[in-house]
Amino acid sequence: MAGKVKIVKGSGGFGGPLTLGIEGKKDKVMYVTGGHRPEIVDRICELTGATAVDGFETSVPEDEIMAAVIDCGGTLRCGIYPKKGIPTINIMSTGQSGPLRQYITEDIYVSNVGVNQVSPVDESDISTNRTDEADREAETVYTKDKKIMETRSEQENKSLLTKIGLGAGKVINTFYQASRDAVQTMLHTVIPFMGFVALLIGMIQGSGVGDAFANIMSPLAGNVWGLMIIGFICSLPFLSPLLGPGGVIGQVLGSLIGVEIGQGNIPPNLALPALFAINTQNAADFIPVGLGLAEAETETIEVGVPSVLYSRFLNGVPRVFVAWLASFGLYE
């Protein structure tokens, strides 16, 4: 029973192959997939003898998790478990994306995995990849793996000129690194979404569906009662975790309402309550993960998930209404 499995990426997927098996306390496969249980969870458990745990209902101490199975489209979850050093299997095809993309690497993450990508391995095939770092080289003044600036900054007695140079260098570097990060975010996160939404809007406008769509959308999003109905639906506790992932539903709804505002079918001041109406399900799918980041205990997560779902429901419609009150005088 207690064998190992090899997991490769599916077509269009990223990362892997991962070799997993029970190691000491690490004997649980946690799946955080908003309600359903992917087939691969059962397959992995069958081959390795691990236990399956629904991460949405309960939590597992991190040192007992053998692997995490997720269905993240590329915002948060796909980076969180790799960041914690937990091997992560994504059933979606997401590659390195989202704000934590730098943690998503081939040795800890594999995506677009189905049952066919999971196969047993013979013990004899496995060799440990991890070798210790080679011994440090003897200390010298300048080493080949450090720039002169780095060597200087480690010296204890710095002259004033060195200090000024290092200080200026640090500030410039901070700006430059900030810029690199920002461009990465734009390229990998914002612009792809823009392309997707622009295509969607173009199809709706160019095909003539736009007019039909305006007929449905304007009465619903064109007055406060309709917006409150949207907010009510999105906040229903059994629906909100399904609408949450990646904020995709909210973002598409937002873009569609934006088009109608741009064409004058919806008054511009209703943009404010609309922002609240399309997002009453905000982060409902993310509760266990967020509480995990807050190092919450298992009990807290079990109480916290229903608690936040209920509070989202109680808050949802009033938020839309208050936003509508606050929209008086906007764009008049």
């Binding site: 990060d181 823009m194 606050a326 764009y331």
Partner: protein, 183 residues
């Protein structure tokens, strides 16, 4: 023949419309958001994460600090999703409420500070681009979004205190109200 040509034109037109929208966004929204991102990333780097941790430790006792000031500052400084890590300074009982509030600050502040949640920017930007198309300033909307959020996210966190007590009774458990920190 003419039919085929007009069919092909109609087909291309589907994508031309999208392309126009896309390049307009690339020319207006992308440069602005990029400059904001760079500036905000730099400020955050220069201020450092330690200071916000200190504030977090002092904020757990008072609901106003806990569900309004801390999640607002935390979202600005640590952005989504790391803002949730500040919840570790809260007693277990208040962690769900902090999460509820912080997750909403990751959106309501996003209009003015897009670095907080660029992956979900289009919740705001989708609607705001309609405003832009009308030639109206987007900032008015962003400021009111932030202000309404400031009040309503606080209330949201506070109400979660009540729903947590309700679920506690339902499940027959009691969560600690004392802060517990290992490290």
């Amino acid at each position: 023949m003419d039919n085929i040509v007009s069919l092909a034109e109609g087909f291309i037109n589907l994508f031309q419309e999208g392309a126009d929208v896309f390049i307009e966004w690339m020319g207006t929204i992308v440069p602005l958001v990029l400059m904001l991102l760079i500036a905000m990333n730099t400020i955050i780097q220069l201020i450092g994460e330690n200071r916000i941790n200190t504030i977090a430790q002092k904020s757990s006792s008072n609901p106003l600090l806990r569900y309004m000031v801390l999640p607002f500052l935390g979202a600005f400084m640590l952005a989504n999703p790391m803002v949730h890590s500040l919840g570790r300074f809260m007693p277990e009982k208040y962690k769900p409420s902090y999460f509820a509030s912080a997750a909403q600050f990751a959106h309501t502040s996003n209009g003015i500070f897009p670095h907080i949640n660029p992956a979900e920017l289009f919740i705001y930007l989708g609607i705001a681009s309609g405003i832009q198309q009308l030639g109206l300033p987007m900032t008015d909307l962003a400021v009111r979004y932030l202000l309404v959020g400031l009040v309503m996210n606080f209330i949201g966190g506070w109400i979660t205190d009540l729903t947590t007590s309700y679920v506690e009774r339902q499940q027959g458990v009691k969560l600690s109200k004392k802060v517990k920190l290992d490290n």
